[in-house]
């Protein structure tokens, strides 16, 4: 059962109003807890958490989008970066889980890179979204971000004792299907994990959800099962995705699946309306539905803690 099964959009909006300044979800020990965002703007939260942020996840910046749902996506990304740059403890790195641009043009990639270069944290790791790969061969994306993966798109690295795996599930499109990793990537991922100690905390990130959120809209990854089976033996696994522009979370054993908000525009809950298009909300609600995810390493027991915050929280 996923979290959103039980809630309608109206409930979600109610919940958003809950904290006044916004609502923040903190995950600790597998329990998702809404907290008043008034705490987030103060030192109380950072003291309570008492941990240095390991990394920040941003997603779905859609640079180039200019329709009613948010005519200023550059502005909301700027605001997101101000929030990150303003964090008392700077995270070690930033993950961008795709849809960097809206239409995959050189100009949009240039603008996105220019805005992202304002981050004080210089280590940025990306995966492409389907919006970043609509040009032939995804040349625009790979010419800028291909180096980390030798132009394969998927790669892994270690940081602070945590193993990170970046996966691409937007390149093998099948009509009527879900996201797909493909045999070659899957074999690489299995080999990358095989000899790794089960006590190594893992972060696996990709654009489209690596678990089934809403299949009629393609919100899932069709061939992920062997990888999930391999992940089960690890003590702490955090699977991070974007694509659906809203937080949906599931905890299964030691694996936490979590999708991030967009910095650009919200999307409807799966199945509500004709399709997963930009959701127009009253302007005063927009920044409550955009945000970022901060992930910290907790030592006892060794696991990761996720905190989602909205753009409203920083004001």
């Amino acid at each position: 059962m996923t979290r959103h099964d039980k809630y309608t959009r109206r409930d979600a909006l109610k919940c958003l109003g809950f904290g006044g300044a916004g609502t923040l979800f903190a995950l600790a020990g597998g329990v998702l807890t809404p907290m008043d965002l008034a705490l987030a703007g103060t030192d109380k939260l950072s003291k309570r958490a008492a941990v240095k942020p390991l990394f920040v996840q941003i997603s779905d910046t859609h640079i180039g989008f200019n329709k009613d749902a948010n005519p200023d996506v550059a502005g909301t990304l700027d605001q997101t970066i101000d929030i990150i740059n303003g964090m008392a403890e700077q995270p070690g790195l930033i993950l961008h889980t795709g849809d960097i641009t809206h239409l995959c043009t050189a100009g949009q990639f240039d603008q996105a890179q220019q805005i992202l270069s304002r981050l004080r944290v210089t280590e940025l790791h990306t995966v492409p979204g389907e919006h970043d790969t609509t040009d032939p061969g995804a040349a625009q994306y790979f010419s800028r971000f291909g180096k980390a993966s030798n132009n394969k798109g998927y790669y892994s690295f270690d940081h602070a004792g945590v193993h990170f795996m970046a996966l691409v599930n937007v390149m093998e499109f099948k009509p009527g299907g879900l996201g797909s990793l493909g045999d070659e990537q899957l074999a690489w991922a299995m080999a990358d994990l095989r000899h790794r100690s089960a006590s190594t905390p893992l972060v696996v990130f990709a654009h489209m959800p690596l678990w089934s959120v809403y299949e009629p809209w393609g919100w899932g990854t069709g061939d992920v099962a062997p990888l999930l089976a391999e992940l089960k033996r690890f003590g702490s696994v955090t699977v991070l995705n974007g694509h659906i522009h809203q937080i949906v979370q599931k905890v299964e054993g030691n694996i936490t699946f979590h999708t991030a908000r967009s910095t650009a525009f919200p999307q409807p809950i799966g199945g509500e309306g004709a399709g997963p298009g930009p959701l127009k909300v009253p302007p005063e609600l927009l920044r409550q539905m955009l945000g970022l995810t901060t992930v910290s390493l907790v030592e006892h027991p060794r696991s990761l803690a996720l905190i989602d915050s909205t753009l409203t929280g920083a004001q």
């Binding site: 239409l103 919006h131 609509t134 499109f173 099948k174 009509p175 399709g275 997963p276 298009g277 930009p278």
Partner: protein, 107 residues
Amino acid sequence: MSRLVLFGLATLLVAAQSVAAPPVATDTEVTIENFHFIPATLKIAAGSSVTWTNKDDDVHTVMDAAGVFRSGALDGGQSFRYTFAKAGVYRIACSLHPQMSEVIVVE
């Protein structure tokens, strides 16, 4: 596109299906709206062109599932035109939204 025009297109389509394939090449408009290709089925003669226009706020693409052709990203208001030189059954999809499909029969 007005409902009248859509109705007209639908009528033409029904007419086209009830008789033999059009003998001459035509130029057909397809609308992409509310995450649907309209019309969802189409029968045309070889050499005909189809122009897809995206009326949604979201981006769509137009691709043939067999990999014969593929548009780039179409923002709201943008169009893509393709001329079907060869007969066959073309399954059309949007590479961003797997639930969208259209079948074009070229005779």
